[in-house]
């Protein structure tokens, strides 16, 4: 029986079967693609919805307003959508202040990292060094340093210098954290500039500084912007250093979301679930907008000059 089927299938209606199989394959492909999309945005969507006090659990239970479960009434988790938590987070004094503080700290840190990183990356990309692999490895090793190796000495030093709980103090620590990333990415962007251009500029009698300022900098500007934006997102999301080296007065957004946003009892409580979700979602929006804007260049930035 099976044999017969195989024979009849292999001769006349083979194209039809192949077409059928292909269609099934395409359907499967679409199903997996949509499933993967769900997998990616579902948790984020839940966060956004819970900020509006929308809980999906009761909907699944088929009773949107209240239901009984083992003697427990879930009536208080009924769905009454409200923008209250978002308005609260935006309205209270704490959230705008957190955003401002974070941008200030991240701005200083990125500026410091660029001041150190641009020359280093430029030299690494421009000069033909023998052990290129060794240098890449060394930069990687810089990244393996635990945050505590940075935090503890700074903690002690800051307590003595009075920099603890100050914007400068955090910025210096975070600059150490992002420096390796900044150097890598910039090195990649610098390496993308063809050698001939340097040579041509030198032939025209420009010195190294002029070559850098007039020729290289304009060419590398998009890459520089991508690097800065990526570093800003990293610092926006950074938690450990910001948490350990800050007090209540100098919190960044990530720390504020986790620990409750206000200095005083101006509201927001980390234990209040809906507030936590609303605050988390608000912190997420600017980061994802930046990330989506730079996504095409990000992979390019991650070549670290290794591809050439």
């Amino acid at each position: 029986m099976d044999k017969l089927k195989g024979v009849s299938g292999s001769t006349p209606d083979k194209p039809a079967r192949a077409k059928n199989g292909r269609r099934r394959g395409r359907l499967l492909l679409y199903a997996v693609a949509i499933l993967a999309a769900f997998y990616s945005f579902w948790p984020i969507m839940i966060m956004g919805l819970e900020g509006y006090n929308i809980d999906l659990g009761p909907i699944f239970a088929g009773k949107a307003l209240s239901f009984q479960l083992g003697g427990l009434t879930f009536a208080k988790r009924a769905i009454i959508p409200t923008p209250y938590y978002y308005l609260q987070a935006l309205g209270i004094e704490a959230y705008p202040r957190l955003v401002g503080d974070t941008l200030l700290v991240a701005g200083i840190a990125v500026a410091l990292a660029l001041a150190v990183g641009i020359p280093v990356a430029y030299v690494l990309a421009r000069v033909d060094v023998k052990g290129k692999g060794a240098i890449a490895y060394l930069l990687l090793a810089l990244r393996t340093v635990s945050q505590y190796v940075v935090i503890i000495p700074l903690y002690i030093a800051y307590s003595k210098l009075g920099l603890y709980n100050s914007f400068t103090g955090i910025a210096i620590a975070e600059q150490v954290l992002i420096l390796s990333v900044v150097v890598w990415m910039l090195r990649g962007f610098f390496s993308d500039i063809p050698r001939d251009i340097y040579e041509a500029a030198t032939v025209f009698g420009k010195n190294e500084w002029q070559v850098f300022k007039r020729v290289v900098l304009p060419m590398v500007l998009p890459g520089l912007v991508v690097t800065v934006l990526f570093a800003l997102v990293l610092l926006w999301n950074e938690f450990l250093i910001a948490d350990t080296l800050t007090g209540v007065a100098t919190r960044t957004v990530a720390v504020g979301v986790w620990e409750g946003m206000s200095i005083n009892q101006l509201s927001f409580n980390a234990l209040a679930w809906d507030s936590l979700n609303a605050a988390g979602f608000l912190a997420y929006i600017p980061a994802i907008i930046v990330m989506l804007a730079i996504r095409r260049y990000l992979a390019k930035g991650f070549t670290f000059g290794l591809a050439s």
Binding site: L29, V32, S146, A299
Partner: protein, 261 residues
């Protein structure tokens, strides 16, 4: 300076006492174990998922632009918020209700190690798979068109093309190797997601809980320790973590070099 501090004590005890204290602490060993397992498995899953997403985006399907944006979404969530997202009362609450009321399954317990440990690892991979995907996509874009045309000529299916052309190219790319190693390094220092979970599980102050990575162990040691402010021990552990990560990085780089050539 941390290296120096790791050899000092407030009381002026012999220099290696911090290392002796640290290696004698079972919580340290448990944390080291957790960290290694956590970073290796989450890196592996992130690479797997990232390459899977790349496969989907290299097929001929409609709405690729939207799908790509949706797939990238996890990348910008702050790690501490990822800890919130995958907490029992956020995503799992709804999934529990779905399984219970739609599929009729009994509730499961989110607070057992066999459930929450995979979830923590999964959330780390969830966040970083898009990065692997972005890099893999850029590798795919750099493969010459002729290669695919030749494969078509030989009658290769899309899966064969992906398996025999794209995947080797991805692992051969030095950039991809670098990013995979980077992911391992960063996961070795993972802190935020385990912190959130140690909060949900009620392990806020005890070092040596089943979710303690080295970073979290050090945090608890530093800020909620009964022994005051044990800078020396923490420095010693941080230096050890550095050494272990560096060793792991070297091994991983070797491994990727031999795999990818």
């Amino acid at each position: 300076m941390s290296a120096y501090l790791s050899f000092t004590t407030i009381t002026g005890a012999p220099a290696l006492v911090n290392y002796v204290t640290m290696f004698g602490d079972p919580a340290f060993w448990s944390a080291l174990n957790v960290s290694l397992f956590y970073s290796l498995s989450s890196t592996l899953i992130a690479v797997g998922v990232g390459i899977g997403l790349t496969y989907l985006l290299t097929q001929e399907i409609r709405g690729k632009g939207i799908l790509e944006i949706l797939y990238i979404l996890p990348l910008a969530v702050a790690p501490i918020v990822v800890g919130v997202l995958f907490s029992p009362s956020s995503v799992w609450d709804d999934i529990q209700q779905f399984l219970h009321f739609i599929l009729g399954l009994p509730y499961f317990n989110e607070l057992t190690p066999s459930f929450f440990f995979p979830v923590i690892i999964f959330s780390e991979s969830w966040e970083w798979a898009p990065l692997i995907m972005l890099v893999a996509l850029s590798v795919v874009n750099n493969i010459p068109k002729q290669v695919f045309e030749a494969a078509d000529l030989h009658g290769a299916t899309s899966l064969q093309k992906f398996r025999l052309v794209v995947i080797p190219a991805i692992f051969k790319s030095p950039v991809m190797q670098f990013v995979i190693v980077l992911r391992f390094i960063d996961a070795m220092r993972a802190f935020e997601i385990p912190l959130a979970w140690s909060n949900w599980l009620g392990y806020t102050t005890t070092p040596g809980s089943p979710v303690d990575t080295i970073s979290l162990y050090l945090y608890k040691l530093l800020f909620s320790s009964s022994q005051g402010f044990p800078v020396g021990v923490v420095s010693a552990a941080a230096i050890t973590l550095f050494a272990v990560t560096l060793a792991g990085t070297t091994v991983l780089l070797r491994l990727l070099k031999t795999v990818g050539g």
